[in-house]
């Protein structure tokens, strides 16, 4: 096993984003025939600020969750960082490179995995596609074989890589896909909803794999997901984005503190009754004291509301604001 240090020298600021903005110009028209015909001659354009002046830094080896509802600007940001989109303004650096220049040295050290798309040869066993990647990334045969077998072992997909990809289930395909995207041992991983559509077991498997990869190779991971379980399992830090703007950037644990106005008191009373109270943060100690004074309490816990609820609340507040 090679050490993590060999792959990721601990340099600060692997990802550096400063005032990054992407504006799309999209054609716009009313529904109906008249409007359709009119748009043939005169197009109406609307500017959409998909990403609006965002800034953040990610250190080497960090796993950061990128959260936001559909259309928040997550994928647009990932695409700018992987060199697929030119920013309208602002600045993005990854591993010291400007992604949009698409320099080989950069592309060789990163990977982009998109949960809903696959890039393996459909009719052939994945091993053949892996071989193609070996050539494209110009990996020495010996290294390639070692990495490939290591990753195949980690995900336990030894028998899957020999079947034509089209015969694999969605979850199996995703596992094989992920291995294909990591053969060159990238130091930066952009994972765009890698667990989308997978069953719970498969999600857990993939999650454990990402964690293991991060640990082994010291890779930096930026992950978007709609499954909070992914984020809770993998990311200490989250960036919450909505309407292209960053609403929160910090420890996952602090998210509730900053956005949730309530905490939940769960108590088990002597008569066997369970109570659950949602109490404003400021009144927690008061409420607890009152509960203890007025009832015989066997067990008591005070918790932040589930992270899903907090996130939902964040977006709801933003929408009404």
């Amino acid at each position: 096993m090679r050490t993590a240090a060999a792959y990721a020298p601990r340099v600060p600021g692997v990802v550096h984003v400063s005032h990054l903005t992407k504006v799309f110009r999209v054609p716009e028209r009313e529904g109906g025939m008249t409007a359709a015909l009119r748009s043939l001659f005169k197009r109406q354009w609307r500017e959409v600020r998909a990403v609006d002046d965002i800034s953040f830094d990610i250190e080497a080896g960090e796993v950061v969750g990128f959260l936001g509802p559909n259309g928040a600007g997550k994928t647009t940001t990932l695409k700018m960082l992987s060199g697929l989109l030119y920013p309208t303004s602002g600045d993005g650096h990854v591993l010291g490179h400007v992604p949009s220049k698409r320099e080989r040295d950069y592309l060789r050290r990163m990977t982009l995995v998109m949960g809903n798309r696959n890039q393996l040869q459909w009719d052939l066993p994945a091993l053949d596609s892996f071989e193609l990647n070996r050539a494209i990334y110009r990996l020495p045969r010996e290294d390639f074989r070692r990495t490939r077998d290591e990753l195949i072992d980690l995900l336990d997909i030894g028998d899957l890589v020999r079947k034509p990809v089209r015969q694999l289930s969605l979850g199996e395909r995703m596992k094989v896909e992920v291995v294909g995207s990591l053969l060159h041992l990238p130091q930066v991983l952009f994972l765009d909803e890698p667990t989308i559509g997978l069953d719970v077991t498969m999600q857990r498997r993939l999650r454990a794999f990402v964690a293991e990869y991060n640990e082994r190779y010291g890779a930096t991971v930026l992950l978007t997901s709609h499954y909070m379980a992914d984020v809770e399992a993998l990311c200490k830090r989250v960036i919450v984005i909505h309407h292209g703007r960053i609403l929160f950037d910090g420890q996952l644990d602090d998210l509730a503190d900053s956005f949730s106005t309530t905490k939940t008191i769960e108590a088990l009373l002597e008569d066997g009754e369970r109570v659950s109270l949602s109490v404003p943060r400021a009144e927690i100690s008061q409420a607890t004291a009152k509960l203890l004074a007025e009832h015989d309490v066997l067990d008591l816990t005070i918790e932040d509301p589930p992270i899903e609820d907090v996130i939902e609340q964040v977006f709801a507040t933003e929408a009404t604001a």
Binding site: M114, D123, A135, R138
Partner: protein, 261 residues
């Protein structure tokens, strides 16, 4: 040579892929036979009324028909499937994968597809060219043969450039389904020597849709009617078009925004 290395790699993958669909071979062979048959029948029909067409005898024209069929094999086997995949991937956003590879994107998107069975046309085209030459009764020197092959390659390059320019258009006009039909229609005109067409059409078939350079010029090399100035013009035009195509591709790439997920 990196391009050759990559081409061989994709060739291997595609061969493995295509041999799974053997039935396609028979379909392609049948199509090829049909197109050769139609080509010869039309030729016979025309020459039953005349002995030369724009100075070309029937045997000489056979060479043109052969080159046209041969090149259509090259187009259908390699150029067209790659360009159609490009257009598709621009629409559904899958081009992202090609663009995040540490390899020249133009090279990658040009080499990925190969329809093995379509190469039947290359063979039948070559046979028709061979028959045409045999009937000419004048010996072909090594120089002519090499000139022919070089010009054929140049012709394929020109057609590739033309296709790539059109396919790059999909960065702006997302739906380019009409591409293949459009080209196919125009390409059929290449069965006749470019000289028979009126001036404006001749020029557009030479410089706009480079069928004239691709089909007629190589055939001229085999029928002793090639002038050195034509070669110089063809080579210069090939160089300029390649450079322009490269520039236009990169310009289009900047426009690419991917199907936003």
């Amino acid at each position: 040579m990196r391009p050759v290395q990559l081409a061989l790699l994709y060739l291997r993958l595609n061969v493995m892929n295509e041999v799974q669909y053997r039935a396609n071979f028979f379909i392609a062979a049948f199509q090829s036979l049909l197109s050769v048959g139609v080509g010869l029948a039309v030729l016979a029909l025309v020459y039953s009324h005349t002995t030369t067409l724009n100075g070309w005898t029937e045997s000489e024209l056979l060479v043109i028909v052969g080159v046209q069929i041969l090149l259509s094999g090259v187009i259908h086997a390699t150029i067209q499937p790659n360009m159609e995949r490009l257009v598709d991937e621009v629409r559904d956003g899958k081009l992202d994968f090609a663009l995040t590879k540490p390899e020249d994107a133009q090279l990658l998107i040009s080499l990925r597809e190969l329809r093995l069975w379509q190469t039947v046309d290359v063979i039948s085209g070559a046979i028709v060219v061979g028959v045409g030459i045999a009937r000419l009764h004048n010996s072909i020197g090594v120089g002519h043969a090499f000139g022919f092959l070089a010009l054929l390659l140049l012709g394929a390059l020109l057609l590739y450039c033309f296709w790539l320019i059109l396919a790059t258009g999909s960065f702006w006009v997302v739906n380019m389904w009409f591409l293949a039909d459009l080209f196919e229609g125009v390409y059929q005109t290449g069965r006749w020597p470019i000289g028979i067409y009126p001036g404006w059409l001749r020029y557009s078939m030479t410089y706009l849709v480079p069928i004239g350079f691709a089909v007629t010029v190589p055939a001229q090399a085999l029928t002793n009617r090639l002038h050195w100035t034509t070669v110089v013009v063809a080579v210069c035009f090939g160089g300029a078009l390649t450079a322009f195509t490269r520039w236009f591709w990169q310009f289009g790439l900047r426009r690419y925004s991917g199907a936003s997920a």
